[in-house]
Amino acid sequence: MATDPHRRAALRAALVLGLSAGAAKARAQTAASGGPTVTARDGVPDGAARWSAIEREARGQTVRFNAWAGSDRVNAYLQWAAAQLAPRGVRLQHVKIAETAEAVQRLLAERDAQRRAGSIDLLWINGENFLRLKRERLLHGPFAEQLPSWRWVDTVGKPTTRVDFGEPVEGYEAPWGMAQLTFFADRRRVPDPPRDAAGLLALAQANPGRLTYPKPPDFHGATFLKQLLRELTPEPAVLDRPLDAARFEAATAPLWTWLDRFHPLAWRQGRQFPPTAAAMRQSLADGELAMALSFNPNEAASEILAGRLPPTVHSWQHAAGTIGNTHFLAIPVNAPARAGAQVVVDFLMSPAAQARKADLAVWGDPTVLDLARLPADDRRAFDGAMRAPGAVPVPAPVLPEPHASWVEPIERAWTRRYGV
């Protein structure tokens, strides 16, 4: 799907010009929420003027985007994005990394060396890595809520676009895509997917030795524990507040009871656990496991398309909801191409780029935008994204992550009970 450059240029002009009308509401919201107030100068809205200045400055810049490269679909999508950005004078360079931690280490080293022109212009990030960089004041911002595309972001329906694992984003990173814990299995083996933790236990009883989860503190394994905790704990509201050590025992007891019953029925009797969700997906394809899990609701569908899973695989989420979060784009404080990076982020958040990203044939990453608020033309671009064999038929509500202070005590308690 090649985009006509003339149409793109027109679209851009419309975006910039239309900003005064479209952004007025957003500005009003920002002002009301105590965000930065915007003043007008010479009758030109400051936001629009600032944005065209950024666009001018961005011309000729190379944006070194440090992004996890473990998916050929993501990489191909970034190549497409680079081609789209070229006419705007911004060169998008995908710097491939295997772990975000590598980029964090580099930024810390550059800070210590007082390097003002760093090696990273843009970073794909969320959760603990964001928290660390934000606390160390290594991120440029706030910038995200001033971008033209921000006005389409669904901050109400998708509150994790402004709160990243319990940490207020405050404009220091821009939402890029949505994630929600999703299970998948072969329909022939699991015809009626479980709807909750009790159903999951029953599934384990019916398939002894075929169910498991990645070993915490693996990201997906920890999320699996958080999901069960949310479902089983007597007072879920406690999880949204900072950890109260006195209530840890009572809050987590049902989780350990559930795991004590699950492990004897699990793969290798719960004495070993697969290292990652990717390993589980492979074991599902091999027939060693009956179920796998992912943070991408469309993962099974795209694996079916790629011919790596049989077309009989289907996905589901627990009826009362599953844990969800958002992944983001951040600009280091010492990025030489800060203007170019903002142009890239604005493009990646735009309806056109988000629609293509959500397309299963391309990547299948759920959008951060509010489709209901999009103009009809832009909304139609998302139509193909939803219905594909293997995708979640009825999305469940998104449950928030427990407050970050709960995570480590849960992981420690898990390790003490089951990890040695």
Partner: protein
């Protein structure tokens, strides 16, 4: 002019040690930055002690078994056609990345692997069995992979040793003496030759042991999980965004290093004791007269031993080749349901980086060899022992920390993101391996050759070039090939110092396979073996020519 020579050697040592001191600063800051916090966390963690035990047990067992197997193969095969055939296979075996062998073997033995599928066909299983063959708690598969991977390196080092004209001369004298006295040849090997050369093998053996105890990727891929080895835990903690976890990871790395130093001292002492015993033994003569001369029947069993080394590699390569093109492959089918070229399409897009990787590897290995030779010719032999910890340190310490430390050094020099910085860092990383291969061969080279040349009026450099170089050609080629392979395999230092903008075949392979997609990983594993294979094959050709020349002369 020994003063000048020592000064050159000291300068060289400084040049080598300085960047490591800078890099180790990063380690120290994390390990001692906030006092004993990291150590307290490490001691309080219930995984620490079992993980340390697991590291030492798997690494130690792998090292001892690899040494025993290398010795047995040498005794059984050396001087026979089987030895040459095995040595011809060694370059290919050395070129296979550790992780590739681990994945390939796992594809064979896992519950849905090729072996289980074969059994399922006969036994009529519909589902994969509950075999704890991968990630087994005792780490048996981890040990097996390490033994298989380190064995070729030890055989290679042994060959480099045995190829030296002076050693070859001793060898044939001892053999003749043994035959004359009616001893079994193997008795002479076990009681005299191998113990006497043990100290010469200390360098390679130390590298093997250090690698086996601290390896992360292989232990992560096939090692135990509850708990994993301490190296894996340390790596996981160091990756954590939480500074306290990082401190715990650094503390774990320090603990692992201490354990390793203890092991290394014990091993070196044991080798020295063996050598002393062997010297006494040699004075007294072999312990028992052999009842029978070397029997022809013995040789009949040996090809079997040779296959034990090469066949697992061939099967692993076969499994990888199958997996690289396999789409959905349900159990218990012996053949994938769907084939796909997608992984090879992606992998082949990375082919252009092969040229840069080769150039970088060649430059780094050649520089490291030149610096290594400069050390050999200028440093007094007594200095080697003091240099040893500095040579082993970069092999032992966690790659993430060292890479971050080297990045700090390259930032200070403004060498980051530049060819120059990568060349310097790869040279620095290749140098320890080059020296570990080169030093033992060089130091045990009979000094009388050099003295004779000097007496005949040759200058130092003429002696080096005309006398020592031809005689030490094989170990030099071996060192070059090892240095080349080390450079090609670097991931973290390349990403850090290259700031990610100078991609090599290894950075492409590691980043593109980070998603854990099996077919892509398999395709890259095969592609990654290409460059080291070429390097080791070239070194093997040099040493074969040297042997031919030897026989001719």
């Amino acid at each position: 002019m020994s003063g000048l020579r020592s000064a050159v050697a000291a300068g060289l040592a400084l040049l080598y040690v300085a960047p490591w001191v800078g890099a180790l600063g990063a380690v120290a800051r994390l390990a001692w930055g906030d006092g004993a916090e990291g150590y307290r966390a490490l001691m309080a963690d219930p995984q620490t002690l079992p993980a340390l035990a697991s590291s030492v047990a798997t690494g130690g067992a792998a090292t001892v078994l690899a040494l025993a197997a290398a010795a047995a193969l040498t005794v059984g095969l050396h001087g026979r056609p089987g030895w040459d055939r095995l040595q011809r296979a060694v370059p290919a075996l050395l070129a296979v990345p550790h992780a590739a062998l681990a994945v390939g073997l796992a594809l064979l033995v896992m519950p849905s692997g090729l072996i289980a599928r074969g059994v399922a066909m006969l036994a009529g299983w519909a589902d994969p069995p509950d075999w704890p063959t991968v990630h087994d708690p005792a780490g048996l598969l981890l040990i097996a992979v390490l033994v298989l991977k380190e064995l070729p390196f030890l055989l290679w080092s042994l060959q480099a040793l045995l190829d030296r004209p002076d050693v070859a001369a001793v060898l044939s004298r001892q053999r003749a003496a043994a035959r004359t006295l009616g001893h079994r040849e193997s008795t002479v090997w076990w009681t005299v030759l191998l113990p006497a050369w043990g100290p010469a093998l200390a360098g390679p053996l130390l590298a093997v042991g250090a690698y086996a105890v601290t390896v992360v990727d292989v232990a992560w891929l096939v090692g135990p999980t509850t708990p994993p080895t301490l190296a894996v835990l340390s790596w996981q903690w160091l990756q954590d965004a939480d500074p306290q976890r990082q401190a715990q990871g650094a503390a774990a790395a320090v603990a692992l290093t201490v354990a390793l130093v203890v092991l290394a001292i014990a091993t070196t002492a044991a080798l020295a004791a063996l050598a002393m015993l062997a010297r006494r033994q040699a004075l007294r003569g072999p312990p028992r007269p052999a009842v029978q001369p070397p029997a022809a029947g013995r040789a009949g069993r040996l090809p079997w031993a040779r296959w034990c080394t090469t066949v697992p590699y061939a099967l692993a390569a076969l499994a990888l080749a199958l997996a690289s093109g396999a789409g959905w492959w349900p159990f218990p089918a012996l053949w994938p349901e769907r084939w796909t070229a997608a992984s090879w399409v992606t992998a082949l897009e990375a082919v252009p980086t092969l040229g840069f990787s080769a150039a970088l590897g060649a430059a780094a290995a050649a520089t490291a060899l030149a610096l290594g030779l400069l050390w050999c010719t200028t440093a007094p032999p007594a200095w080697d022992r003091r240099a040893l910890p500095w040579l082993v340190a970069p092999i032992v310490l966690p790659g993430l920390l060292l890479a971050a430390g080297l990045y700090r050094v390259s930032l200070a020099l403004q060498w980051d993101g530049r060819w120059l910085g990568l060349w310097a860092v790869h040279t620095l990383l290749a140098l320890p391996y080059v020296l570990l291969v080169l030093l033992p061969a060089w130091r045990r080279h009979d000094p009388r050759w050099r003295q004779a040349a000097r007496v005949l009026g040759r200058g130092r450099w003429a002696t080096l070039w005309r006398v020592q170089r031809p005689m030490l050609q094989a170990p030099m080629a071996a060192a070059l090939a090892v240095g080349f392979a080390v450079s090609v395999a670097q991931y973290l230092p390349t990403v850090f110092v290259g700031a990610g903008v100078l991609p090599t075949i290894t950075t492409e392979a590691v980043t593109l396979t980070a998603g854990g997609q099996r077919s892509l990983g398999a395709a890259f594993a095969l592609l990654q073996a290409l460059l080291p294979l070429a390097g080791f094959a070239a070194a093997a050709a040099v040493s074969a020519r040297a042997r031919a020349w030897e026989r001719h002369a």
